[in-house]
């Protein structure tokens, strides 16, 4: 089976960066796909399916990440993850306005 490779350039949009809860959601999402999914930040390459690796990425606001998905569902995986990261801006905003 010929594996697709999909690459996307992403920028972390929210002030808090990819902190614990989004990291957990991201990993959960990534684990739902068969493809191998990785983030590249500078010279670092981490597995998007490992919470430990995502957490050590130190992805703060403005960090530019290269998303690389490789596998039968690479296209769908890249779409879903890109969407989730873009939505971080909104969910974080909601969270902060809902606080007393």
């Amino acid at each position: 089976m010929a594996d697709d490779v999909v690459r996307r350039q992403l920028c972390v949009p929210n002030p808090q960066g990819i902190h614990a809860r989004p990291a957990a959601r991201l990993v959960e999402l990534a684990n739902g796909f068969q493809s191998r999914i990785e983030f590249v930040k500078g010279t670092e390459r981490v597995d998007a399916k490992s919470i430990f690796q995502i957490m050590t990425l130190a992805a703060v606001q403005g960090t530019v990440l290269l998303l690389e998905a490789r596998g039968p569902d690479a296209q769908a995986a890249a779409d879903a993850i890109e969407k989730m990261i873009q939505e971080l801006a909104e969910t974080d905003a909601e969270a902060s306005t809902s606080e007393p």
């Binding site: 960066g17 614990a20 957990a24 959960e28 597995d47 919470i51 430990f52 690796q53 050590t56 703060v60």
Partner: protein, 580 residues
């Protein structure tokens, strides 16, 4: 090799395998599995991971229901960590390739992650506690019922902990616990004092370091310099093994002094008595030739309890000491704690803004006369068994002392009525540790039978400095001219009245002050048993003439640093090997 710096609270060097204690008292020893058992051990790990994950998920729904989904999400992150393939792979490779036990492999891998998190920026650093939580969860399933605890040691260890409670410290088996180090704690914390009493090398207040250690790592505790060395390299280890040996030899050479008097070269006798807290320390005193107990602290009876001790509990502890001292004098000090550290029935429940100036020690006892009388009754009862004296701490005014003596008289009358034996002429003394007491020393001499200078508190209250506060602790010095003048005033007042005077603060056990104290005319020093031979050796090496010269000269110095340097220099002339 890694070197951590903390506060040295109990001297000596200890080398041994680490036993890392966390809040739950886990001990993860460095263990290996047989190559033939690797497959079954990996299976055991997988099983534990599955159970730990299921437990975290169950926790998620429980907490989500109780506090809301945001809080539940914390545990779903934990479940995710436990299920992490990278984590699983790494632990398994530690088992398969290095033959580590699953427990040790888990601890190693997670602690390495914790370390990476700590340095990976604020987002990750805040998650370090989650990693520890996950570690516990997995270990609990791996260890099941067989987890090792402090109370079940079978081989020598160095205990490393976030903090040890005084009761945990007191319960340490000193035959197996060679030394300990904690992240929390200060020089005067009870744990630190207990470490000195147990005579095991200890370093406290290191700050965060447990994430850098795994159980079984080789650790050196340097209780002389306040260092903890993790996985020392060969040279360092050899050096410390040498120091450990030398220290032992030096101690042994001092023991030879046991039966010799503490007498200066020109024949002035000084009485050396011991400070103790636990009945078991009597042995330490006798081994080193203490002539009595100059300060028997009774706070240990009040630790970690809902209620104050009963009369029988007091009596049992005191009578053990009095009997073991075989006719040598024993000075029992009544409760010396602040309202924040006492059992519930003695606590006021009010948060004091300034506990050092608050309801503490004798003041607290006078506030709860019934509980105080229980202690006095027990002390009076042991006064029938041997030469016992009573000492009140933190006496600030004559009125307080009179009140305390009145209560004591009431207790005496009760005992007499019940035909219970006691010594009606029991001596009643005071700790002199507040400047007001020094200023009024001539008057106190009329009401008290003896004085004991508590130099630690005297320095604190004279210089208005809390030595546990690092920003000002440099001001804390027993060599401060103001403190030295107060001590001189107390000596003068007691001489005039011929009242016995002893010094029982840390100053009396510090070799740099021996010349000065003897020179001022002090003839009784009450010190931690460990230091008795050392101080005796100094006394036996000096002449009272020299001591008086030093005492006169130091009074002309106007600041603490120069005074301390001068005293150190003089002491070094007589005993260079002791004064570093």
């Amino acid at each position: 090799m890694e070197i951590k710096r903390g506060i040295a609270v109990s001297p000596g060097v200890a080398i041994g395998p680490a036993m890392v204690l966390d809040a739950e008292g886990f001990r993860i020893p460095k263990r290996f599995v047989k190559p033939s058992a690797v497959a079954s051990e990996v299976q055991r790990l997988e099983h534990a991971l599955d159970k730990a994950r299921a437990e975290a998920l169950a926790n998620e729904s429980f907490i989500a229901g109780k506090l809301g989904s945001e809080y539940g999400a914390i545990f779903s992150a934990h479940a995710q960590m436990i299920a992490d393939t990278k984590l699983r792979r790494e632990i398994i490779s530690h088992i398969e390739e290095r033959n580590f036990s699953p427990e040790y492999a888990t601890s190693q891998v997670l602690r390495r992650f914790a370390k990476v998190f700590e340095t990976a920026g604020p987002i990750a650093a805040a998650r370090v506690n989650d990693i520890f939580d996950v570690e516990h969860r997995i270990l609990r399933h791996l260890l099941g019922e067989q987890r090792e605890e402090l109370s079940q040691l079978t081989s020598p260890v160095i205990v490393l902990a976030h903090d040890l409670t005084p009761s945990e410290t007191a319960g340490l088996d000193t035959k197996l616990v060679r030394g300990f180090a904690t992240e929390e704690g200060g020089r005067t914390s009870h744990t630190a004092i207990l470490a000195g009493a147990l005579e095991i090398p200890a370093v406290v207040g290191i700050g965060r370091f447990l994430s850098d250690v795994s159980g079984g790592d080789t650790i050196v505790i340097d209780g002389n310099r306040g260092l903890v060395i993790l996985n020392p390299d060969e040279n360092t280890l050899a050096e410390y093994q040498h120091t450990e040996e030398e220290f032992r030899h030096f101690e042994e050479s001092l023991v030879a002094l046991r039966d010799l008097p503490a007498e200066t070269l020109d024949g002035v006798r000084v009485s050396l008595v011991g400070n103790i807290e636990f009945p078991s320390e009597v042995e330490h005193c006798l081994e080193r030739g203490a002539e009595g107990i100059g300060l028997y602290r009774t706070e240990f009876l009040y630790l970690d309890k809902q209620r104050s001790p009963t009369e029988e509990e007091h009596f049992e502890a005191y009578s053990h000491v009095v009997k073991a001292m075989q006719g040598r004098p024993v000075v029992i000090r009544t409760l010396d704690l602040g309202a924040d550290k006492v059992p519930e029935d003695l606590a006021t429940g009010e948060r004091e803004r300034n506990p050092f100036l608050g309801l503490r020690s004798l003041r607290l006892c006078l506030h709860y006369p019934e509980i105080f009388k229980t202690q006095l009754r027990a002390i009076l009862r042991v006064s029938a068994l041997g030469p016992v004296s009573i000492m009140f701490p933190l006496v600030t005014t004559i009125t307080e002392l009179r009140q305390a003596k009145l209560l004591l008289n009431n207790v005496m009358e009760d005992l007499a009525e019940q035909h219970i034996e006691f010594n009606r002429k029991v001596s009643v003394g005071i700790m002199v540790e507040v400047p007001s007491t020094v200023i009024m020393a001539d008057q106190f001499c009329r009401v008290a039978d003896f004085f004991s200078l508590g130099t630690n508190d005297l320095v604190q209250y004279t210089l208005a400095v809390d030595r546990n506060n690092q920003s000002v602790s440099n001001l804390f010095s027993a060599a401060d001219p103001a403190v030295l003048r107060l001590i001189r005033a107390v000596v003068k007042a007691t001489k005039r009245r011929n009242l016995p005077l002893s010094v029982c603060g840390e100053m009396s056990a510090d070799p740099i002050y021996t010349l000065l104290l003897v020179g001022l005319g002090i003839r009784s020093l009450s010190i931690t048993p460990h230091s008795i031979p050392e101080i005796k050796k100094i006394i036996r090496s000096i002449k009272s003439r020299d001591a008086m010269r030093v005492a006169r000269k130091v009074m002309t110095i106007d600041n603490a640093r120069d005074a301390a340097n001068y005293l150190r220099g003089e002491a070094r002339k007589f005993l260079p090997e002791i004064v570093g």
